[in-house]
C-alpha cells in the first residue's frame, strides 16, 4: 500500500459522524465514480438492513402463522368458560390413563413410591408413556437403519450416488395411506416379504398390526432423515484432519473414533432427536398399521378435538408439546456443548464400491454394505414399489385404469372437484414458495441462535416448536386465528389463500433449515466472519459470501427438507386453501381415496415422481455438497 491509508485519515471518524450508515471507506470511493459510490452506498444500506428485516419478518410470520393461532387453541386448557383454571391440565396430569404411574407424582404421591411402581412388573405407562416408548423404539430403529445409509452415501462412490442421496428423504412426503398400502403389500400376510421368505424355505412373519410394523413404518419415514443429516455432516469432515490423525500414527479405526465420529455423531443425535419428536407426535400411521391398542397421544388429541372437547384436548397437546420440546431442549443443550470446530472444505475421498481387487477387510465391508442394501431394499424400496404396483393393478390384473381416471378427472372434473394438474402445479408453486421463505427464515434463526447469549438454546428450542406441536392443534389454530380472522377496530382481518398456504408451509419447514444449517454455522471459525467484516462486508454479506458457502451441504439438506415438508403438508393446506384452486397433491390423494385405492395410489405415484424430480433439481442446483 502506498497511499491507501495516508489520504483517508478521517475515514473512520467520518463514518462515525454519519451515525454508522455510511461505509467507512467513503473517502476512498470519493475519488472513484460518484454514481457508483452512491449505488454502493445504497446497496450497503440495504445489505445491513436485510438481516434485521429478515429477523423481524420471521418473528412476525411465526407470530401470525404459528404462535397466535396455536395459542388460541392451547389457551383452552387453562381457560374454561371464560375463567382461568389449572383444573383441566392437572386433571390430565393426574389421570393414570394418560400418564400411567407417573400420574401419581401429580396426585401427590412420593417420587419413591412412583419409581417403585414404575420399576415393578405391573408398571403402567399410560398413553403418554407408551407414546414415548414407541417413539424411543422407532428412534433406535431409524438410527440403526439410517446410519449405515449415511456411511454408504458419504464414503463410497458408485453410479447414481448423488441421485440416491437426493432421493433419500422421499418417504417424508408420502401420505400415511400410501405408506399403509405399501406396507400391507410388503409386510402383510400375503405380502412380498412373506412370499420371499417362503420361497427360500424360511418361516413367514406376522408383522402387520403390531408394534413392530409401526416401528418399521416410523423407520421408513425417519431413517432417511437420519441418513440425510448424517451424510451432510460426514461430507463436511475435513480430510486433512483425518490425514493429520493418520500421520500421527492413528489407525483407520482410531482416526475415525477421534476425528470423524465427534463430527458425525452430533448429526446422528440430531436425527435421533427429531425422529423422537416426530414419532412422539405420530398419528395416522399408528392406526393404519398398528391398531387402536397402540393409540398415541396425538390420536387422543384428534379424538378430543373432533368431539369438541377442547379443554382436555389442549391440555393433552400441552403435555405432548412439553415432552417434545423438553427433549429438543435437552438435545440442543447437548449440541451446544459438543460442537466441533471445523472448517471442512476438502471432503474425505470416497471409496469405490467395487474395488478392482479387494483385500479381505475391504471385501468384508462390502459384504456388510450388501447386507444393508438388502434390508434397505426391503424397508424402503419394496413398499414404494408396492405402491407403484397398486397404482397399475385392478381387479383383473394390470391396468392403466387408475391413471386414466386421473386424465379423465382432469378433463371432465367439475370446478368444485379436485383435479390432478392444478394439484401438481400448486404443490410445486407452494413448494418453491415455501422453500424461498423457509430458507432465509431458517438461516436467520440459525444465525440468531448461534450467537452467544444467555438462553439462546431456549430460543432455539422455541423456534423448533412448529416441529413439536400437534398438527391437529395447528390446523384448528389456523382456522380460528387466520381463516376466521381477528377483529381489529371493527374490521375483521382474515387470512387465507395461496400466500397463507406458502407461509404456513414455510413455518412448518424452516425448523429443518435451522437444524441443518445451525450446527454448521456454529462450528465455523468465528474469525472467518470477523475477517470478512473487518474487510468491509456487512453481516449479511459475510453470511452470504463466507458462511453459507462453507455450510453448503447443510443448506442443501435444509432446502430439501423444507421442500419435502411443503410437498407433504396436509392439515394446514386444507384449512387455508380457499378452494379447489389451491389444493395440492396430498389433498388430491385424500380426495381420490375410495373403496379401491387405485386412483389415490396413481396420484401418489404422481406425487412421488414430481417430488423425486424436484429433489434431484434441488441437489443439482445446490451443487455437489462439500465439493465446492
Amino acid at each position: 500500500m502506498t497511499d491507501g491509508s495516508g489520504d483517508a485519515g478521517g475515514a473512520p471518524g467520518d463514518a462515525a459522524e454519519d451515525g454508522g450508515t455510511t461505509p467507512g471507506d467513503a473517502s476512498d470511493a470519493a475519488d472513484g465514480d460518484a454514481s457508483s459510490a452512491a449505488a454502493r452506498t445504497a446497496r450497503d444500506r440495504a445489505e445491513r438492513r436485510i438481516l434485521p428485516a429478515l429477523a423481524a419478518g420471521t418473528v412476525l410470520l411465526l407470530a401470525v402463522l404459528f404462535y397466535y393461532p396455536v395459542g388460541t387453541v392451547l389457551v383452552e386448557a387453562v381457560r374454561v368458560d371464560g375463567r382461568y383454571t389449572l383444573e383441566v391440565l392437572v386433571g390430565v396430569l393426574r389421570d393414570p390413563f394418560y400418564l400411567g404411574d407417573l400420574a401419581g407424582l401429580f396426585a401427590g404421591e412420593s417420587p419413591l413410591a412412583v419409581a417403585g411402581r414404575l420399576l415393578g412388573p405391573d408398571r403402567r405407562l399410560g398413553i403418554v408413556g407408551f407414546t414415548a416408548y414407541q417413539a424411543a423404539l422407532s428412534t433406535l430403529a431409524s438410527v440403526a437403519l439410517g446410519l449405515p445409509g449415511a456411511y454408504v452415501l458419504a464414503r463410497f462412490e458408485f453410479p447414481g450416488r448423488r441421485t440416491l442421496r437426493s432421493l433419500t428423504i422421499l418417504p417424508f412426503v408420502l401420505p400415511s395411506i400410501m405408506v399403509a398400502v405399501g406396507f400391507v403389500a410388503t409386510f402383510g400376510d400375503d405380502g412380498t416379504l412373506n412370499a420371499a421368505l417362503s420361497a427360500v424355505g424360511l418361516p413367514t412373519v406376522d408383522l402387520l398390526f403390531t408394534l413392530e410394523a409401526v416401528v418399521i413404518a416410523h423407520a421408513f419415514y425417519n431413517a432417511p432423515l437420519v441418513t440425510r443429516v448424517t451424510t451432510a455432516a460426514w461430507e463436511s469432515v475435513d480430510a486433512s484432519a483425518v490425514e493429520t490423525a493418520r500421520s500421527l500414527g492413528a489407525g483407520p479405526f482410531r482416526a475415525f473414533r477421534d476425528v470423524v465420529a465427534p463430527q458425525v455423531y452430533p448429526a446422528v443425535l440430531m436425527g435421533a432427536a427429531l425422529t423422537f419428536v416426530f414419532t412422539f407426535g405420530t398419528f395416522p400411521i399408528v392406526l393404519a398399521l398398528g391398531g387402536f391398542e397402540l393409540a398415541t397421544v396425538e390420536v387422543f388429541v384428534y379424538r378430543l378435538i373432533r368431539n369438541l372437547e377442547y379443554a382436555e384436548a389442549a391440555a393433552l397437546a400441552i403435555v405432548e408439546l412439553a415432552v417434545s420440546l423438553g427433549l429438543l431442549y435437552a438435545y440442543l443443550r447437548y449440541e451446544a456443548r459438543h460442537t466441533v470446530r471445523s472448517r471442512g472444505v476438502r471432503p474425505l475421498p470416497r471409496h469405490r464400491l467395487l474395488p478392482a481387487s479387494p483385500s479381505f477387510g475391504q471385501a468384508l465391508v462390502r459384504v456388510g454394505v450388501a447386507a444393508y442394501a438388502l434390508v434397505a431394499l426391503t424397508v424402503f424400496l419394496a413398499p414404494v414399489l408396492s405402491m407403484l404396483l397398486a397404482s397399475v393393478t385392478g381387479p383383473d390384473g394390470l391396468t392403466l385404469e387408475h391413471y386414466r381416471f386421473l386424465v379423465e378427472r382432469q378433463r371432465t372434473g367439475a370446478a368444485f372437484q379436485v383435479r390432478p394438474w392444478p394439484a401438481v402445479r400448486n404443490s410445486l408453486l407452494f413448494g418453491v414458495g415455501a422453500l424461498a421463505v423457509a430458507l432465509p427464515m431458517g438461516v436467520v434463526v440459525a444465525v440468531l441462535t448461534t450467537r452467544d447469549y444467555r438462553g439462546r438454546k431456549l430460543v432455539d428450542a422455541v423456534a423448533m416448536a412448529p416441529l413439536s406441536i400437534s398438527g391437529i392443534v395447528v390446523g384448528l389454530g389456523l382456522l380460528r386465528g387466520l381463516v376466521f380472522g381477528v377483529e381489529v377496530w371493527g374490521t375483521r382481518i382474515a387470512v387465507g389463500g395461496a400466500l397463507a398456504v406458502v407461509a404456513a408451509h414455510a413455518v412448518a419447514g424452516y425448523p429443518f433449515v435451522v437444524r441443518t444449517v445451525g450446527p454448521g454455522l456454529d462450528a465455523l471459525d468465528r474469525s472467518l466472519v470477523e475477517s470478512a467484516r473487518a474487510l468491509g462486508a456487512s453481516r449479511a454479506r459475510a453470511l452470504l459470501d463466507v458462511e453459507l458457502p462453507l455450510v453448503r451441504p447443510g443448506v442443501v439438506a435444509g432446502a430439501a427438507f423444507a421442500f419435502a415438508i411443503s410437498m407433504g403438508e396436509f392439515s394446514a393446506t386444507v384449512v387455508l386453501a380457499t378452494g379447489t384452486e389451491q389444493y395440492t397433491m396430498p389433498i388430491a390423494i385424500e380426495r381420490f381415496i375410495g373403496r379401491r385405492l387405485g386412483p389415490a395410489t396413481a396420484m401418489g405415484v404422481v406425487l412421488l415422481l414430481v417430488t423425486s424430480a424436484s429433489f434431484v433439481v434441488i441437489d443439482r442446483f445446490g451443487g455437489e455438497t462439500g465439493g465446492l
Binding site: M1, D3, G9, A11, P12, S527, R539, R541
Partner: protein
C-alpha cells in the same frame, strides 16, 4: 517519552503524531469475569504497538474492542480521534489478521486478497487486479493468486492474510497472535517481514502476542497486560530495564526478584537520567493510569519526591543487599526489586574477597540450559532459586554478585 528508548528509525511514529487509536476507560465483562478492566491507551499514527501478556490477560479482547467485534461495557474507543461507538467492524476501516489467518477456504488466494475490494475502491486508483498483484508482491508471494489456501504453507497463509487485510487500505492494522501457529525459525523471519511492511506503509499497527520476546523485538511500544489491565505501557527497553511491577519483571525476560525490609539508608546519590526518564512511564498494577501522561502517575516509590535516590541496605532473608532505592526510603520500609540474570556477575573464587559482602549471593547449581550463545543456570539459593547467564560451564557452589545500581526497585511499601 525519550527517544533513546525508541528502537528508533524512520518508521517509528514521532511523538507529536496524531493519536490514531485511543481507548478511554474501556471495560468489557463476560458474565462475572472482567476481560478488560478500565483500560486507557493512546496509540499514535504509524506506531507499532504491542499488547503482550499471558493468556486470559485481556489482550485479544482489547484488540477485538478496537476492531468492533466486541462492544465495551464502559468507556470509549476512538479511531482517528472520533468515537466509534456502535460502529460495526465493516465501517471502522481496520485490517485484521487472525492467529489462524481465517483465509476463506472456498476462495483462491487472489479472491481472498480481493475480497475487501468489494466494499472499497482500491487505493491509489488501481484496478482490483493491480491492487491484488501489488499486495501479493508486497508480501513476497507474487504469482500465487490462483492457488487455493489449502495448498499454501503456514507462513504463506499468514502472508496472504496480511495482504488481504491491507488490500482495502485500512487505517489501522490489527494482528492477533499472527505468528503463534508457526515454528520458531519461521516466526522470527516473518516478524521481521511484518515489521518491514509496517515500516514501509507507516501503518498504525496493534499487535497481540503472548510472546514477550516477540513483543520486545518488533514494537515501538509495549503494553504488558495482566488481568484485563496494562501493568506497564512503555518502549521495549524501559519495560525490560525498569519493569513497573513484579508481574512485568517476571513476565518480561528472566529475572531475579527480591523483597525485604530496609535495614539502613546509607546515603543519597544524584539520580541518573535514566531513572528520571522512566519514572513517569511506569505504573504499578492498579495504581492510577498507565497512560504516559505528563506528570506523576505514582511510579516506583520515588515518584512523589521525584529526583533523588539512596543506597539502601535491604534484608532479603538470606542476606542483606545494597540497592539503589528511591530517595524517600526509610528504615523499616519494604522494598521489592529485581536484578536481571545478565547483571548477576559470576565471581571467581579470588574475586570474592574484598567485595561488598551484602551483594554476594552463594548458591549451588541446580540446573543448566544450554541456549547456544549463553547458558541459563539456575542456582539454589536458600529455599529459592536464582537465574544467571553464563558463557562458561558451571557446577558446584558458586557466588554471584550485582551492582546496587543494577537493582531496579519496583515496589516500595512504607512502614
Amino acid at each position: 517519552m525519550g527517544s533513546e528508548d525508541r528502537p528508533g528509525g524512520d518508521g517509528a511514529a514521532p511523538d507529536d503524531a496524531p493519536v490514531a487509536v485511543e481507548l478511554d476507560g474501556v471495560s468489557r465483562r463476560y458474565g462475572d469475569t472482567t476481560a478488560v478492566s478500565d483500560v486507557s491507551l493512546r496509540i499514535r499514527e504509524g506506531e507499532f504497538f504491542t499488547l503482550v501478556g499471558p493468556s486470559g490477560c485481556g489482550k485479544t479482547t482489547t484488540l477485538r474492542l478496537i476492531a468492533g467485534f466486541e462492544a465495551p461495557d464502559a468507556g470509549t474507543v476512538r479511531l482517528g480521534g472520533r468515537s466509534v461507538e456502535g460502529l460495526p467492524p465493516e465501517d471502522r476501516n481496520v485490517g485484521v489478521v487472525f492467529q489462524n489467518y481465517a483465509l476463506f477456504p472456498h476462495m483462491t488466494v487472489g479472491e481472498n486478497v480481493a475480497y475487501g475490494l468489494n466494499f472499497a475502491e482500491p487505493p491509489g486508483g488501481l484496478t482490483r487486479e493491480e491492487r491484488v498483484r501489488e499486495l501479493l508482491e508486497l508480501v513476497d508471494l507474487p504469482g500465487m493468486a490462483d492457488r487455493d489456501p489449502d495448498e499454501l504453507s503456514g507462513g504463506q497463509r499468514q502472508r496472504v492474510a496480511m495482504a488481504r487485510a491491507l488490500a482495502p487500505g485500512p487505517e489501522v492494522l490489527l494482528l492477533d497472535e499472527p505468528m503463534s501457529a508457526l515454528d520458531a525459525q519461521l516466526r522470527e523471519r516473518l516478524r521481521a517481514q511484518v515489521k518491514a511492511i509496517q515500516r514501509e506503509l507507516s501503518i498504525t499497527t496493534v499487535y497481540v502476542t503472548h510472546d514477550q520476546e516477540e513483543a520486545l523485538a518488533v514494537s515501538d511500544r509495549v503494553a504488558v497486560m495482566r488481568e484485563g489491565t496494562p501493568d506497564q505501557v512503555a518502549p521495549p527497553r524501559t519495560v525490560y530495564r525498569r519493569p513497573a511491577t513484579r508481574f512485568v519483571a517476571e513476565f518480561v525476560g528472566d529475572n531475579n526478584v527480591f523483597e525485604g525490609r530496609v535495614e539502613a539508608v546509607e546515603g543519597h546519590v544524584e539520580p541518573s537520567d535514566q531513572v528520571d526518564r522512566n519514572i513517569h512511564e511506569n505504573a504499578p498494577h492498579g495504581v492510577g493510569s498507565p497512560v504516559e501522561t505528563e506528570g506523576s502517575v505514582g511510579g516506583a516509590g520515588n515518584a512523589e519526591s521525584g529526583t533523588d535516590a539512596a543506597i539502601t541496605a535491604v534484608d532479603v532473608g538470606e542476606t542483606v543487599a545494597r540497592v539503589r532505592a528511591p530517595g524517600d526510603v526509610a528504615v523499616g520500609d519494604r522494598l521489592s526489586f529485581c536484578v536481571r540474570p545478565e547483571n548477576l556477575r559470576i565471581l571467581r573464587d579470588a574475586e570474592e574477597d574484598g567485595r561488598d559482602p551484602a551483594n554476594v549471593l552463594r548458591g549451588s547449581v541446580a540446573s543448566a540450559e544450554f541456549l547456544g550463545e549463553t547458558t541459563r543456570v539456575r542456582l539454589s539459593w536458600g529455599d529459592r532459586e536464582l537465574v544467571v547467564r553464563t558463557t562458561d560451564p558451571l557446577s558446584g557452589t558458586i557466588s554471584v554478585a550485582f551492582d546496587p545500581a543494577d537493582a531496579h526497585v519496583f515496589a516500595h511499601e512504607r512502614r
